[in-house]
Each structure stands twice: as C-alpha cells, then as structure tokens.
Amino acid sequence: MSPEDYTYITKYLLDTTGLSLGENKEYLLEARLIPIAQSRGMNGIEDLVLSLRSQLDQSLKTEVMEAMTTNESSFFRDKRPFEEFKTSILPDLIAERKISKKLRIWCAACSNGQEPYSIVMSLRENFPELIDWNIQIVGTDLCTKALHRAEAGVYSQFEVQRGLPVQLLMKYFEQCEQGWKIKSDFDVGIQWKHLNLLEDFKHLGMFDIVFCRNVLIYFEPDLKKNILDRIRNQMNSSGVLLLGAAETVLGISDHYSKLPECQSAIYRVSGQKTQETQEVT
C-alpha cells in the first residue's frame, strides 16, 4: 500500500468513525480491506481508495467503516462492573425512582448485543420488583452488521460460554441451527438503533445509566472528551456512567466523579450540565 493511500484511509477513518490507527498498521488495513476490494472486483487497495476519494459509492464508505470496527464483546464482560451495577448502583437508583417507576439505560456501543442482554438478565434475576416498571434499554452502535446480530440474538457455542453462567443459558436461550438464540418468548424490550458517537445523539433523550464500554479506547483524547461531555448532557442528575476496564475519565472530563465504593470504572455525573458541546461531524 502506498504511503499516500495509507494516509488517506487513516484520515478517512479518523474523521468518520473516530478510530485513531496511528502509524504502521498497514497489515491491519490490508487484512480487512483487501477482501472488500476483491468482493467488488477491484484491483486491490489502490482502486478502493480511488473509489473512496470519488465519494460516489455510499455503500463502500459504510463497508470500509464497518470493516475496521472491533466488535469483540462477551456476556457480563469483566464480571465485576456487572456485580457493582447490581449491588452499588441499582438499589439506590431504584429507591430514588420508586414513584415514577421508570429507568432508562443506554448501551452506547453495544456491538453484537451481549452487553444489553446481560443487563436485561441481571435485572430479571436480581430485581423481580421491577416487573411493572417502565424500563427502557437502548442499544446503539455504528456497525449495522453488529446491530443485526444483536437484534437476532443468536450466538455461537463459543460466545455463550464466555461469561454466561450455564443456569442463565438454560433459562434465557434456546438451541437453534446456528447455535443459541435468545428465547423468543423472553420479552427483552431492547431498542436497537444505528448511531455514530461522533454525531449528535440528543434525540435519544435522557438516561439514568450509560454503558460506554470499550469504544472510547480507540479514540484520541480530544474526541473522548467531546463524547464524554455530550454524554453528560444526556444524563439525569443522579446518572451513572460505566466505562471499560482500561478506560477512565481522569484527565479527560471533569463532569464525572468516580464512585468510591466501586472498583470498576464507574462514575456519577457531577456538577452542572456542560456548555453545549458540539458534535464533531
């Protein structure tokens, strides 16, 4: 791949998805993009870049963006955040909302759906009193392919063995040709939506809990700050934010403070809403 093509594609990805690849990732780009070029009968990456530059083919743009996302996820990923969600976050929030009986939860990069399904199972298993509540869970992601998988709720044998206790597999899944599928009579009530975090998300409304796990890690500090500040504006005054195990708001945004009783990266919003922060694109 020529240095010019490399520069073009990395800049393109940075601008459209936030992904900051840095230098020397030619092998990664080639591994993911050559199959796309081939499937379209193109002569390698050079042709693909030409076509991207021409801005004519919208579906190619989407395909390139999606090919570069890392969709890895697992049920109850890292375990402890979900324990703390159950023991330290929900009891207080439930007490606070016992009149309105309403909770809104957002999974801001839900990938193939393991995260929102884990939340639903955790609520069902531990808080039966929520049965007559209005609980809204919104799962969003940039990657349409991942969202389709999430909505279908079908997982491989390997995936249902990562992080998911067999008792929950027995209770909430049924076997199907491709593996294991969320039971059709299990009313999960998750809304799936396509969303690029670089774009405006005010239309999603206000949330009590936001999972934004293992996505900001791919972005530059300025972009992390921009997204964290805008997420803050979508959170109620006692809202809680959960980040991935290797992520922090420290030194990036001061609109959150760490929950001292939690060991995971769990934050409560602090202070006022931020000044209107503009989306990037």
């Binding site: 390997f158 063995q161 008792q167 049924e174």
Partner: protein
Amino acid sequence: MKTILLVDDSRAVRLVGRRMMGTLGLNVLEAEDGKQALEVARANPELDAVLLDWNMPIMDGMEFLTALRNEERDKQPIVVMCTTENDMPQIVQAMQAGANEYIMKPFTEDIVRDKLEETGVL
C-alpha cells in the same frame, strides 16, 4: 493450592487439560473413566473440583456424578461437565444430577478459566 480431578478417557484431552489447569495454578489429578475417578475422589477427601467428560467406557460421567453426589463426604467437590454432549436436554440432565457448570467441547483456555471462576474454583 486447590486440587482438580480431570476425568476423560482421551489421553490427548487429559494432556491439554493438565497443562491448562497447571497454568491456572491448580494441582491436577487424573482418571480415565468414572470408576477410577470415584476411587481417586474417595482417596482425596479434600478434592476441590472435577472436570468431567460424559462418554467414557466402564462408568460414564453421569453415573460417576450420581454416585459422587450420593456419597457421604465432608466436602462435595464442584463438578464442571466437559463434554461433546452439547444439546439442551443433556445440559439440563447434568445440572439436575448435580453438576455446577457445563463446558461444551471443543473448549478453549478462556472458557475453562471463566467456568472455574464462575464456580469459585479459581
């Protein structure tokens, strides 16, 4: 150090299993069928866990599990099934017979670690 008993009639599986359990910091015992496994379990009252295949000659995993759970012992080990019997009815049957977790073969080191953590062995 916790002790786990690997029960599988395939020497290859025991070999792979032994290496994995070793890296996870467990002391490993082996048996190649249910009958041998019962003897090892009886000789080791402090046994913490069993990783148990289903289909084996002489005495299969389910017979072993039923016998083990009916034994009077001070400490009942955690039993994690590890088998190619990968259908829901079999999972249900094993859990009803007293298994604590279930691994569907082929397994990976990540899955084994997850399941042993899930059951408190690790």
